[in-house]
């Protein structure tokens, strides 16, 4: 069975590069050079987001508690009462939308990085044991996964994040509850095929302890598929976190997040379209770029899910 809820699935991607029309040598070369650089555009965009997430609070002066009646619902580009420009407008209580997007990037990326790390660690551990040890370990893992995927992912996240006290940690736990499955599947598949490879058999014959075989002879080979999987998972987590915070579940009310800003803007949709629109665009751009990088990585490492 395949995981298919992925918004940015890659296994069905196809090579656009295989059919280039015949061009004169010179033009072809320069075209290829431009395309070569374009390949790194998503990387650059992601780097930009990471930069914003790290230094964002230094760039924008934003306090979610400070509201200003005179600056309510200003359209993009207007001047606020303190003389600065609200490039993307202000929200229903006079807070700058651009500042919310910058700080929202920090929240989103922090949660996504933490969640992907937790998922990767659990997934690698389960996948290695299930694939390499096999037998009952494999069966237990498979049945556990069967149970977890019976709940649509976001549902389990809503129940977990909603019933516990709001914090970043509980959001990470809620999103990791099913997020590790993708990693476990990829790693299990790889470990299964590695088990019969010569160098692993040789290590076994020489009575190398199983733990050392796993860490030194098997683990390095799952790195590629795991990295490819991590990018996909990252995109999914960003989307899921936005969904949770849109519903007002999981994050404390003082946190700034894209989902919350979109939700807050929904009330003013008719008179202030910008509040909901821009955070969604910021989120989509990040997810598209992460998805594109993920496609490149999957094509390279052939992480077949």
């Amino acid at each position: 069975m395949t995981t298919t809820s992925h918004p940015v699935s890659t296994s069905v991607g196809h090579d656009a590069a295989t059919t280039t029309p015949p061009l004169p040598e010179m033009r072809r070369r320069s075209a290829r050079r431009v395309l070569g650089w374009l390949r790194f555009l998503p990387h650059a965009v992601i780097a930009g987001y990471l930069f914003l997430a790290v230094v964002g609070p230094l760039l924008v002066d934003y306090d979610p508690m400070v509201t200003s009646i005179t600056d309510r619902l200003l359209s993009p580009g207007s001047t606020t009462s303190d003389g600065s420009t609200a490039w993307l407008g202000t929200d229903g209580v006079g807070r700058d939308v651009l500042a919310q997007i910058v700080l929202g990037a920090r929240t989103s990326i922090t949660i996504a990085v933490l969640t992907v790390t937790v998922c990767a660690v659990i997934g690698i551990a389960v996948g290695l044991v299930a694939g390499y040890v096999g037998g009952w370990a494999d069966t237990v893992a498979a049945r556990l996964i069967d149970v977890l995927i019976a709940f649509p992912g976001i549902l389990l996240a809503i129940v977990i994040a909603g019933l516990f006290r709001p914090s970043i940690a509980i959001v990470v736990i809620a999103l990791s509850a099913v997020g590790w499955i993708g990693f476990a599947r990829v790693v299990r598949g790889t470990a299964l095929s590695l088990r019969e490879r010569d160098w692993v058999s040789a290590a076994r014959v020489m009575a190398v302890p199983r733990r050392s075989i796993l860490t030194r002879h098997v683990l390095p080979f799952v790195a590629g598929p795991v990295v490819a999987m991590a990018t996909l998972e990252f995109a999914l987590v960003v989307l899921a976190e936005a969904g949770l915070s849109f519903l007002g579940i999981g994050l404390p009310p003082t946190a700034v997040s894209w989902g919350q800003t979109v939700a807050a803007g929904k009330e003013y949709l008719e008179i202030a379209w910008w509040i909901s629109t821009f955070p969604g665009l910021a989120l989509a751009l990040l997810v598209v770029c992460v998805g594109l990088v993920g496609d490149q990585l999957t094509a390279r490492y052939g992480g077949k899910r």
Partner: protein, 309 residues
């Protein structure tokens, strides 16, 4: 075939037991006692103690678990303190609305996805294929709630063509169903495309072509049926995803389905309803997966005899 169905049923029963147990564990781990939540902040310690005894919360965990399992088997999830009716009744009264939305969205996604996928897969790297593959990525990258809000902005507020929220008529269904259908269309179309493109390379397609059949006859009569197996699996899985995943979209459009009930119940710590709703959805997903398995056993005889499974 019978053996396969038997094995699938046993697995389904096991998964349901796992789901029941998982929900029990989550609810027990959650902070805040069910008794004190139900009685509100003004309850005295005596009242809470009495409620705990009545709800069986002071029994050992194992005893609670066994009696919980027994009640679940009788489909008794207890009373919703918030709605004042049995939790399962509350859930079942909301289920038709969610089902309606899911079926409408999935039907749109299947029709549009299959057509687009056939157009793209019939001629790999053609115009349709290129346009589709790039739009598909973006369709799957936008958060659904945001797409829903943008559709409201354009079709309800600016064009005034469709209602922005509520339910009752067919026009109320359009926007939420389209919102849910867009990413699903992309999934179905991409999978159909790649699966079809693969089948088109097969020997029997060559044979069909050399018989002098037109490209369309080859595609519809020969390649398509074989390409549908992964698509059927996806449709089964995605329908389940939609049932639970429509939570967010229902919230955007104030659609009176299961999703909004779950969100409200989680916020109000109405454990009875949360458990009933989660288990109902899990049950439907298990049944859907079973149906998908059986469908592709019909489509592909190799699976029926157990060679492919």
């Amino acid at each position: 075939m019978m053996r396969m169905i038997g094995r699938r049923l046993a697995l389904g029963a096991f998964v349901m037991w796992g789901c029941v147990t998982l929900i029990f564990v989550i609810v027990r781990l959650a902070p805040g006692d069910q008794a004190s939540v139900a009685l509100g902040p003004d309850a005295t310690a005596d009242e809470i103690a009495a409620a705990r005894t009545r709800l069986g919360l002071d029994e050992p965990l194992v005893v609670q678990y066994v009696s919980y399992l027994g009640r679940v088997l009788r489909l008794d999830f207890g009373e919703s303190y918030r709605l004042g009716q049995p939790a399962m009744d509350a859930v079942l009264s909301r289920f038709p609305a969610t089902l309606q939305l899911t079926v409408a969205a999935m039907a749109m996604a299947i029709v549009a996805g299959l057509i687009l996928g056939c157009l793209a897969g019939g001629r790999p790297n053609g115009v349709v294929d290129r346009v589709l593959s790039s739009t598909a990525i973006s369709l799957q990258s936008f958060p659904t709630f945001w797409v829903g809000i943008m559709l409201i902005l354009v079709f309800a507020l600016h064009l005034r063509a469709l209602p922005s929220a509520g339910s009752g008529s067919l026009s109320h269904l359009v926007l939420p169903a389209v919102t849910l259908a867009l990413p699903q269309t992309a999934i179905v179309a991409r999978l159909t495309r790649s699966s079809l493109a693969e089948s088109m390379q097969d020997g029997y397609v060559q044979t069909a072509r050399s018989k002098g059949l037109t490209e369309r006859e080859v595609l519809v009569g020969h390649a398509l049926k074989n390409s549908l197996i992964p698509v059927v699996t996806i449709i089964g899985i995605q329908t389940g995803v939609l049932l639970g995943g429509s939570v967010v979209v229902e919230n955007v459009f104030a659609w009176p389905g299961l999703g909004s009930l779950i969100v409200d119940s989680v916020a109000a710590r109405d454990y009875a309803v949360v458990q009933a709703a989660a288990l109902l959805i899990a049950g439907v997903v298990v049944v859907l997966n079973l149906l998908a398995d059986l469908t592709y056993a019909r489509l592909d005889p190799r699976i029926r005899v157990g060679a492919g499974a």
